[in-house]
Symmetry: C2
Subunit: 180 residues, 2 copies
């Protein structure tokens, strides 16, 4: 097989295009490995967390919400965007409470993922939450979320059958399945 | 648990912000389930494919490339963006050849994933490729990709150890692991 130079692309300049509530868009001029220049469209995102929350009866908390970008209701694990400077584990506890009304007694890191490294900086930190107790926090006022409790193995079957098609949720659940 | 209305958000109007090579950005005004209006920042993407390519000796083809958005070299499965109207399976065969120099005799659908349904329309179609034979196609002139062959189980260990942190790659590889 041929081998290519995969050293870093060198940023030359950056044009801000849009600064929004969730994402910023910039276009960067970069110098490639062969000395040529190219443009990289870059969605800047603050990062996020997602949580596999399992209760004492081995039921998983799932959230269902209408996703405008996907044009459908999607079933996902609880998740949310990091506030500036926020600790990912703290954010995970907060988002779990906001979205499901449950507080985690124990949070274990599951690593994380870049959702689309070709064009967005978003990295999602994944957590496994145990020792759940009811404790509601107010939800964001533009979020409408339905919470479901399903046996953990049923969630795996939902992945196999194409009923869970959200990337972060599949990554997190199949990572947990490998640990069990 | 409380139940919320998760019926579709109704699009009211849309402001185009940027039309680029990979992504388009629009801001949509939507009517929420409670009658209020809100804005949704939307990255329009044509969709993509990614391929778990396994040879006759149970080795997997991985690609390593510098990802400007992630600011690091990442190890991923071969993947690429759909051309307008392109059949995903056809695209998968093309991208596998372009990125790795191997042609698939057999392609099996593994379903797919939305990479970040909170703000991008991108859906990635996943395929399992067998019956590989050498047959190179030219790579895009701004892509610098290093191809690796690793035993399939080593790739799973790379996920467990945080050496593969690309969402689509983890989803596809762990889906295949469940089928074996």
């Amino acid at each position: 097989m041929e081998t290519y130079d995969i050293s870093p692309e060198i940023p030359l300049s950056e044009t801000p295009i849009y600064s929004g509530r969730v994402v910023n868009l910039v276009v960067a001029d970069v110098q490639l490995q062969n000395g040529m220049t190219s443009k990289r469209e870059l969605v800047r995102h603050p990062g996020a967390v997602a949580i596999v929350a399992i209760d004492a009866t081995d039921h998983l908390l799932l959230v269902r919400q209408y996703r405008f970008a996907a044009q459908q209701v999607m079933t996902e694990i609880p998740a949310g965007t990091l506030n500036p400077g926020e600790d990912p584990a703290f954010c995970a506890g907060r988002e779990l409470q906001e979205e499901t009304g449950y507080k985690a007694g124990e949070l274990i890191s599951l690593g994380g993922l870049f959702v689309a490294p070709g064009y967005t900086t978003e990295f999602i930190h994944l957590f496994l939450a145990y020792d759940l107790s009811e404790s509601r926090l107010a939800m964001d006022d533009d979020e409408f979320i339905d919470v479901q409790r399903v046996p953990f193995n049923d969630a795996l079957a939902m992945i196999d059958h194409g009923q869970i098609i959200d990337g972060k949720s599949i990554v997190a659940l199949l990572k947990v399945a490998r640990l069990r």
